[in-house]
Amino acid sequence: MKKIYWILLGILFLITLIIEFVYLRDYDSHWWNSIPAFYALYGLVSTVTIIYAGKIIGKNIVNREIDYYD
């Protein structure tokens, strides 16, 4: 991917951080609102978990040759 896209993505992420720390500082409806950049962390952890969970389940349990049922 080109560098410029990464930079744009970084800027967008920075904007969300600014919004979070300026406008949503007092926002408190869940226990996790006090963790800074919680949703970023949660998105990262979720995605990695799903990739590895899928990989492990696929490799060890459910993946078969394409003509398995024939």
Binding site: M1, L9, L12, F13, T16, I19, E20, Y23, L24, Y27, S29, H30, W31, A37, Y39, A40, L41, Y42, G43, L44, S46, T47, V48, T49, I50, I51, Y52, A53, G54, K55, I57, G58, I61, V62, N63, R64, E65, I66, Y68, Y69
Partner: protein, 572 residues
């Protein structure tokens, strides 16, 4: 009579019958007329409008309009129209008739005011949609269609059994919300509806059949079966707690499998299960906001999912394959399809300014206002998976990854682009103007999706999800595999079931027949000449040793009498 014919369900079914006598050239155009008429009648009928009829002692309510049925009626009509345009180039009578029949029966379910009317449409829906699988005419689709049909007959049977039980215990025929009691009748109805809603572990028919259906058939199928079941759940089982957790489990199950799958239409099929999970979860939470969320999400979902199935269908149409290993590097050859696909992908991923965002956030915020933080986190987890598979993995390995692809790309019919364009427009339109949808929502609950909080939530999750994908994408690389699901149990059991119920029964009949024949042969031989029995002491070949026939008869009777006497003495 005019009341009767303007019932959307009946209107489309009559339309399907008319198609059979229409010349080939005008058939696709006539097809489009009926969804338009249906939309007209759905929107013009006032709330509380009913059409009733009498069957034996039962008062049937053939049509009943309220806010909930209207919004489903609108989206079903729209999607039948759009899918009709997508299938405009397809001239096959069987598929056209059954597609219209299918759409009609889904609309029939939506407006059915009593349970008997509902079950009739329910069964038509199962049968007509099976045709759309079989029409692919491959060995795989034959098998998948049969499994699909058997599954839905089972589901329909459970629902019918539950309905009969319900009517005989309560005497009520009305389609109305039930209090949360796990009586046998309620459980049977819930299971029957759950089959169509693809609630795990009753979901396998969907992931099995949808990828094997025809290109145009899959577009219809992605809209009607599961969403009409969601409608019935909304209507009959709102607030049933169990659904919250089954919904959340569906949402996650679908995304994990979508990571494993290597067929682009199978990925989308698993994402139907995942997205319906969001709706089922909302129905389980059962607050006004949550039910609105489930309704809105069904509405949005039908739009973006049909767009996704249209664009992947277009890839399949152009290249002849939906296997990810053969795809990749198609961006230069199919840039427009990629763009249209991405509108659907951004919508399903709940990216702001697309229509998934305006409905998914309702459900998630309903879960958080119902103090169900576990459900919130589970649904957000599933959202990350949606973005990963539909937003990133599928387009990356279809349009990029390789520098170029030698695969021959057929030109797409214009009508396909038009249909995808309409759906994409709708996705963006509702994303920009959510109130156009919110005014039709059935329950009183104010919601505004455009808040800084949701923006931060979605954008942060998506950016970091993208980063994770980018560095781990080789883990998701296409392979030539299939993924087993719980359908393994019945597909593997099929030969032994066949042995017991088909070969076994056959053998039993064979043996019985042979036995009967042997007995007959024996009796015929022995009784051909009764005199042989009456004089058993005669050797026919030796006249000298024989008694006279008269004496033999007397001796025989004495012998028999003696035997009877002994037997009687033994038993008494």
């Amino acid at each position: 009579m005019t009341d009767l014919i303007t019932i959307p369900g009946i209107l489309l079914i009559v339309g399907a019958i008319l198609l059979t006598v229409t010349p080939k050239k005008v058939r696709p155009a006539l097809f489009l007329l009926f969804p338009v008429l249906s939309l007209l009648f759905v929107t013009s009928r006032p709330e509380g409008y009913t059409v009733t009829a009498q069957l034996l002692n039962y008062d049937l309510v053939l049509m009943q309009v309220d806010d909930l049925s209207r919004i489903f009626g609108i989206i079903f009509s729209i999607t039948a129209f759009v899918a009709g345009i997508f299938a405009y180039h397809m001239k096959e009578l069987g598929q056209q008739v059954n597609a219209l029949l299918y759409a009609g029966s889904a609309l029939g379910v939506t407006f059915a005011g009593d349970l008997l009317t509902l079950i009739i449409y329910w069964e038509i829906m199962a049968v007509s949609s099976t045709w759309l699988i079989w029409a692919r005419r491959t060995r795989e689709s034959d098998g998948a269609g049969m499994r699909y049909l058997i599954y839905h007959i089972l589901g329909g049977g459970l629902l019918l059994g539950g309905i009969i039980w319900h009517i005989s215990t309560t005497g009520s025929l009305a389609v109305e919300s039930l209090t949360q009691e796990y009586t046998p009748a309620n459980i049977m109805m819930l299971l029957g509806v759950s089959v169509n809603a693809a609630v795990i572990p009753l979901h396998t028919w969907l992931a099995d059949a949808y990828p094997k259906a025809t290109i145009t058939g899959a577009v219809f199928m992605s809209a009607f079966t599961t969403k009409s079941a969601v409608y019935v759940l909304l209507r009959v089982f709102p607030g049933w707690e169990l659904l919250t957790w089954f919904g959340a489990a569906m949402a996650i199950y679908g995304v994990i499998y979508a990571v494993i799958c290597k067929d682009i239409r199978e990925i989308l099929a698993y994402h139907i299960i995942s997205q319906v999970g969001f709706m089922v979860c909302g129905i389980g939470i059962g607050t006004d906001l949550a039910l609105n969320g489930a309704t809105a999400h069904a509405y949005s979902h039908i739009l973006y999912k049909s767009l996704l199935f249209m664009s992947t269908g277009a890839v399949l149409y152009a290249t002849g394959t939906s296997k990810m290993v053969d795809l990749g590097g198609l961006f230069k050859k199919m840039p427009w399809v990629f763009g249209l696909y991405m509108v659907g992908a951004l919508s399903i991923s709940g990216i702001p300014l697309f229509n998934g965002f305006i409905s998914k956030t309702i459900t998630i915020s309903a879960a958080s206002s119902a103090q169900n933080e576990t459900a919130v986190l589970l649904l957000l987890f599933a959202s990350a998976g949606t973005w990963l598979s539909v937003g990133l993995k599928l387009p990356y390995f279809t349009w990029f990854d390789k520098k170029s692809n030698d695969i021959e790309v057929k030109k797409l019919p214009v009508n396909m682009y038009i249909a995808m364009g309409i759906a994409a427009f709708a996705c963006i339109f509702y994303g920009l103007f959510p109130n156009a949808l919110y005014v039709y929502l059935p329950y009183e609950a104010y919601f505004n999706p455009f808040s800084a909080y949701y923006f931060v939530e979605v954008v942060q999750m998506s950016i970091l999800g993208f980063v994770a994908f980018w560095f781990l994408k080789q883990k998701l690389a296409p392979e030539m595999i299939i993924a087993l699901d719980v359908d393994w149990f019945y597909r593997k059991a099929a030969p032994s079931v066949y042995k017991v119920f088909v070969t076994g029964v056959d053998n039993l009949y064979d043996r019985a027949e042979n036995g009967v024949l042997a007995i007959t042969r024996f009796l015929v031989e022995k009784f051909r000449n009764p005199m042989r029995w009456l004089n058993p002491f005669t050797d026919k070949n030796n006249q000298a040793s024989s008694y006279s026939p008269g004496l033999e008869v007397v001796l025989s009777f004495i012998l028999i009498g003696f035997i009877i006497f002994i037997a009687a003495a033994m038993f008494y």
